[in-house]
Every structure is written in C-alpha cells, then in structure tokens.
Symmetry: C2
Subunit: 268 residues, 2 copies
Amino acid sequence: MTLSPDVPAPAPRPAVRRRGPGTARPTAAGRALSVLDAFGPRHRCLSLSEIARRAGLTLPTAHRLTRELVDWGALERDSTGRYSVGLRLLELSALAPRGLELREAAFPHVEDLHQITRGNVQLGVRDGMQVVYVEAIRARVRAVTSRVGDRWPMHATGTGLVLLAFSEPDFQEAVLRSPLERFNPMTVTDPAELRRTLAHVRQTGVAVARGQITLPDMVVAVPVRDPAGEVTAALSVVVETEGARPRELAAVLKQASRAITRALDPRH
Amino acid sequence: MTLSPDVPAPAPRPAVRRRGPGTARPTAAGRALSVLDAFGPRHRCLSLSEIARRAGLTLPTAHRLTRELVDWGALERDSTGRYSVGLRLLELSALAPRGLELREAAFPHVEDLHQITRGNVQLGVRDGMQVVYVEAIRARVRAVTSRVGDRWPMHATGTGLVLLAFSEPDFQEAVLRSPLERFNPMTVTDPAELRRTLAHVRQTGVAVARGQITLPDMVVAVPVRDPAGEVTAALSVVVETEGARPRELAAVLKQASRAITRALDPRH
C-alpha cells in the first residue's frame, strides 16, 4: 500500500436516493429493497438481526423478506447462517445497458490501456449525482482500489469531473451546491475553483487531477461519446504522479475513447 | 462469426428457481421480483405493458412496482419510456462474495491466461444446477460470446463439468437425472457417458471438451480451490480446436488456478 497513513481509504458513497439504514420504506416491495440496502462495501455479510436493524424492520418481517430474497437468488445464506449478495443480481446486472453491456464494447480498449500505461483504468457513467464504475482494471500493486460497481462523488474523481463538465449547466450547479466531501487536503471542494476546472475540461477534453482522493496518484480522464455524439461515459487512468506524462496519457485515452465509440455503433 | 449455420447461438438459461414469465408470485415483495424477472438476455429493454405481461401483473400494479424500482435504481427509464436494468444492481452485485469479489482475486491471473492463450477465458461458479460466469474475457474475434453473468447448464460447459465432477454425489445424480439440453450434435447428454467423463475429470483434475456448445471450439477447464481446499470455482479457456494443445493449456490453467487460491487467502 502506498497510501499516506493520514489518508483513510474512502469507502464508496451510498446513492443519494438511498435512505439511511433504519428508515424502512412504506410499501412491501420497498421493505424488500430496504433489506438489499442493508448490504454495502463495509457490510457484505450480515446476520438476520443486523439486516433487521439496518433495514429498520422487525425481526419476523426481516426473516420473511430475507427468505424470499434467498429463494429468488438475490441473497445467499452461508453455513454459519449469515447472508450476502447472491449471483442472481450479478446475472441481472449484466443486462444493464449502461453497465456490463457498455463494458463489453469497451473491454478490449480498456485492456489495451492497462497494458500500455500499467495504471489503473476506470470506465465510469453518471448515476444520480455520482459516478459509478462499470469497468475497473487495477494495476497489481497500487493504493487505489477502484472496483466495478464503486460509486463516487463527481467532484473528487477524474471520470466524475469529465461527466460533470459535459452535463447540463443546471445539473452542474446542483452538484456544486451539494455538500462536497474532502477526502484529503488536495481534494478541491471550492465551487468557484471547480467551475474553472470544468470550463478547462470542456475546452481541452481532458481532466487531469493530482492527489484528489489518494495523495501520490494522478488521474487523467476523457469523455466517451456514444455514436450520436453524446457523452455517455468517461474513461480514466490512474498512475503515480512521479514520472507521469499527462499529455501522453491523454493522447492514448482519446484514442481508446474513439475506439469505444466505434464499438458502440450498431453498424460497427 | 465462425458458428456453423446450423448451430443457433444459445441464450443463457434462466435459473431453475426462476418462474416462467406470466406467473406472478403471491407476495408483494415477490411481485416486485417478478418485474425484475421480466428482463433477460433477449428482453433487455421492455415497455410497461411488456413488463406487465411477462410478470403476470395488471398494468396498474406493474406501473406502481416499476416506478418504485426506478426510484430505487434497479431499473432505468429511457427517453422513449422503455425500461432496462439500472446501475444500482451493478453496485449491489459487486458485493457478492462469489461474484465480483472472486473476480477481483482472479483478475490478474485470468488476464495473464487470456494474454498467453489468446483464447476466451471464463471463471464460473455453481449456482443452483447451473454455472454462472463471474468473469469472462473474450478473444476479439470469436464465436463464443461468454459474458459475465451468463448462466449455463453444467453438462455442456467446461467449467460446469469441473464443478459437477467435484460436487457431492447426490447433487451429481440430480443434475444427470434432469433434462439435459443438446446444443449441437456434439453435446453429450447421455448420463452414463457423462458419469464416465466426470470420473475422468476427478482423476485428472482437468476437463477437455470439443464442440459441446459451438462446434469449432475446444474448452479446457480446471477447478479453483479456496484456501481451505474446497472447489469454489472453475477456470476455463476456449480456443479453436484446430491447433489446440490441451496438455499445455491444462498446465497453464493449473498454474493460474493455484495463483487464484493464493490470492483468495486472507493471509496473502
């Protein structure tokens, strides 16, 4: 791990739309979704009583819903009686057009990028006011632990800055007016400075950030357009700042981004 | 595409536990799951009335549940009003210990295998009576379209034969007594012949199959053990039969499998 000891590894953030644990939704279907919401990056394996508490449900209700979700495959129960997320959700999530389908089109190019740069490569899309990684390849020895399914605030990630820069102005302002978390002393949270950064990203088509989440790292990110020309995703590489060549990385990323756009074209 | 024209590209099979479309579950939570069940590899994008019909629900019920699932992020609604699977499910599925977490440990080794063999590489786990791919890297020009989240019957895939060979005898017999689909003239569906194959896989630690799903292909598969020694997954490579060297492939696969076991060890 090359993380500075004063920089805690930040956990992916929950969705804005998700309610806090303990606030059950009013409908029956909503209560089943609350059971799923009880699981998170720091809560991958839960007992029934933990599920009930985190979902804000009584134990009998949690028991009934958990059993139904296990039967369907959304959850699995291990030999010690604890629950975790099941493979039926992996199977379903593979159908998401903005998820693994986009990953399919991008994969060979993402893999090339990883081979050429030996850095972490991320492909992110906007979801609510966050960016979600639909593909992530990690260099073998690196501090940044980006994973598929990770959700991050837009202001603190390269892919997020690109997606924000190419969003509608109203959406940009809504994000800039929301609470902007500081992950370390280098994270930019000043709306005026972020506005200047976004203008620069729009002008150059590249976002370059140093130490926004983990101090020794540099991220370079570019937009990925769909065949109609809309920015549909962002592609980034994370390397160590020392010795990094952002211009070269940007050129390689733009090349890969164009290849992904071509692969997304059904006439391809 | 190198598929023989008489071999239709088979779609991944639905889970055994999944009900057919049009048979709604009795509970409210179950009805919400029926809405999700309406989506599949051939039904990635559905209108509200298609959802209602496939889930066996009235239009108002389908409308209410779909809205709730969109609000939560399980579904997304596009500009034409059609629905598809949303990114919240990708985020949740990343928490599955047997899904993307296993993929994380395996990824560098799967990538190496793909680089060395230039074939398709699959990492599969058993779920119900099928195998689900938790990782799949495709060679750029190949007929087999294995994808993450794909679900296949065990008798017709290399990973499935390995997982079946190392399953409890009762489970093996249950699978061999179930209807065994024939994907092409080479698919082995005779229980006695499959029993001999499974004994051979247990003895050698390798499954080799030719043309079981797509005719010109050979698959070589090996078990992946967890640090406690249990077979937890299977790793396979698909290459063209012509010029394939199954012994060499098996040796490389066994090497990669051991590396994955080490990566799964928390003391690693």
